[in-house]
């Protein structure tokens, strides 16, 4: 069991990294990876939302959809769960911690349409993961996403300083870097 969880964790960070292997959450990835602070904010929020959505949707899936034999509605139900959850969190943060809202809250609405979150939930359901497996997958997918964000942020900060050619500035060069990582991450495929 523990070995299984470890391999899910390694898989989520290295082998099936959301950004470099699975292509999930790319819009916020390229949007927020332009500097360290944005990446931190986005990364932290993604991990938080991913873990909570994983838990919530696992509960809904196991105790509502499967007994009712309504798994074909998963997509609809999950996205509503995520949207409602995020909206709630946004309201709570805004009310109780305006400073936190100011630094992290701006990322919240974006996260609803972040395919990484719906992606991890869909993967959990598709693989029929048990609760612990789903939780580990959710957590480490988020960590893998944040890792990729921070890597890209430091690289893009350096590239900004060095000055890349005019038509390469911003996202194009980031995609080239992502291609490099994507190739490098290929070596991890045999790990699990």
């Amino acid at each position: 069991m523990a070995g299984d969880l470890i391999s899910i964790a390694i898989g989520a960070i290295l082998v099936n990294n959301f950004v470099f292997a699975r292509f999930l959450g790319l819009c916020p990835f390229f949007g927020a990876s332009n500097n360290w602070n944005n990446s931190m904010g986005m990364g932290v929020m993604v991990i938080f939302v991913m873990v909570c959505s994983t838990v919530l949707s696992w509960l809904v899936d196991t105790f509502v959809l499967i007994p009712m034999n309504a798994r074909y509605l998963e997509n609809l139900v999950f996205i509503v769960v995520i949207a409602v959850f995020v909206q709630l969190v946004e309201m709570i943060i805004r009310k109780y911690s305006p400073s936190l809202y100011k630094s992290l809250g701006i990322w919240l609405p974006l996260i609803v349409v972040n395919c990484a979150v719906l992606g991890v939930v869909t993967i959990n359901a598709g693989e029929n993961y048990a609760f612990s497996q789903a939780l580990v997958n959710g957590l480490f997918s988020g960590i893998g996403f944040m890792f990729a964000l921070l890597l890209m942020a430091t690289i893009r900060e350096r590239l900004d300083l060095m000055g890349v050619p005019e038509s390469m500035k911003g996202v194009p060069i980031a995609i080239v870097v992502a291609a490099g990582f994507s190739m490098a991450f290929r070596a991890f495929v045999g790990l699990i």
Binding site: L151, T154, I155, R158, L159, V164, P165, G190, L191
Partner: protein, 305 residues
């Protein structure tokens, strides 16, 4: 009278001289490769160097940058050739060098700006794209018997054969003696920090020892030593502080051995790309404490922007 800013004298080393010395240090490996694998090895080396050089020339023209020869493309082409299998068809070095130069260097704006080691990138591209031609390694000598890379067959070679390079493998990676000669040249000229190959090799050996594998065999097989001296020490794609470089070397060692032992493949080039990507982050966290700076201020970098 000329008014210019100081210092009014400068050191002797310039970029071109550094690059040409790296080429010099690579020559023993190239010679050993040609000795063991014959004329094809020479062809591959020449084509790879030419490919890199011509691609760079065209690329710099397109970018509108000065096309003065600085030797860096030559180094990339040479390193790429030395990590290719000697049986590779002749289009492989050309395609690989062109891709390496364009995708891993010129798109970033040329020398000094690239994130990934172009030679490692070129090899990774070739491995992923043309697995069949990249994975067969002929044994040294005239006969074209295809053998697996030495990594796959632990214990089938003597240490002496491994050391001298009388084994199958990539052109420049087999002869450890030549690699060490080149490495010593680089260290003696003060071009590379001896800590990098040392830490890298030691990390690999310790991990092999802990895992119960033959650590000397691991050290002497595959592309470990070549990467230690010539790829993990590439200026542009490794950290700028010594502490950073040691972290880089240790991380590379761990990843090399993890993939060797757990996946069973030689993926040093991949791991070099991966660690290259980590370099800006390592640099960010290894800003040295300036002389007389209190400890607390070390990470004084402001985070609000």
């Amino acid at each position: 009278m000329e008014v210019s800013i100081g210092p009014h004298i400068r050191g002797d080393w310039d970029t071109k001289r550094i690059m040409l010395c790296v080429v010099l240090a690579l020559i023993p490996s190239a010679v050993a490769g040609i000795y063991y694998f014959g004329y094809t090895a020479l062809e591959i080396i020449v084509l790879s160097v030419l490919g890199a050089q011509i691609t760079e020339l065209i690329g710099l023209k397109v970018l509108g940058k000065p096309t003065e020869f600085d030797g860096s493309a030559m180094v990339t082409g040479l390193i790429l050739a030395l990590i290719l299998p000697p049986s590779a068809p002749l289009w492989v070095p050309i395609v690989g060098a062109a891709f390496a130069m364009v995708f891993f260097k010129l798109l970033f704006g040329g020398l000094g700006k690239n994130i990934f080691n172009p030679a490692a990138g070129g090899r990774v591209f070739l491995l992923l794209s043309f697995a069949a031609v990249m994975a067969s390694f002929p044994a040294p000598g005239a006969d074209a018997v295809t053998a697996a890379s030495p990594l796959a067959s632990t214990g089938s070679y003597s240490y002496m054969d491994l050391f001298l390079g009388n084994v199958s493998g990539s052109i420049g990676e087999t002869c450890k003696l030549a690699i060490i000669i080149g490495g010593v040249i680089l260290i003696a000229l003060g071009l590379i920090d001896y800590a990098v190959p040392l830490v890298y090799a030691l990390t690999c050996m310790v991990i092999a020892l802990v895992a119960g594998a033959d650590s000397l065999y691991h050290l002497l097989s595959g592309g470990l030593l070549f990467a230690a001296f010539f790829m993990a020490t590439d200026y542009v794609t490794t950290p700028i502080t010594r502490r950073g470089r040691v972290i880089f070397a240790a991380g590379l060692g761990v990843l090399t051995m993890v993939t060797r032992l757990m996946v069973g493949t030689e993926s040093i080039s991949f791991m070099i790309l991966f660690m290259n990507g980590l370099v800006p982050m390592i640099d960010r966290f290894t800003v040295p404490r300036s002389f007389g700076q209190p400890k607390k201020e070390r990470r004084a970098r402001k985070n609000e922007q």
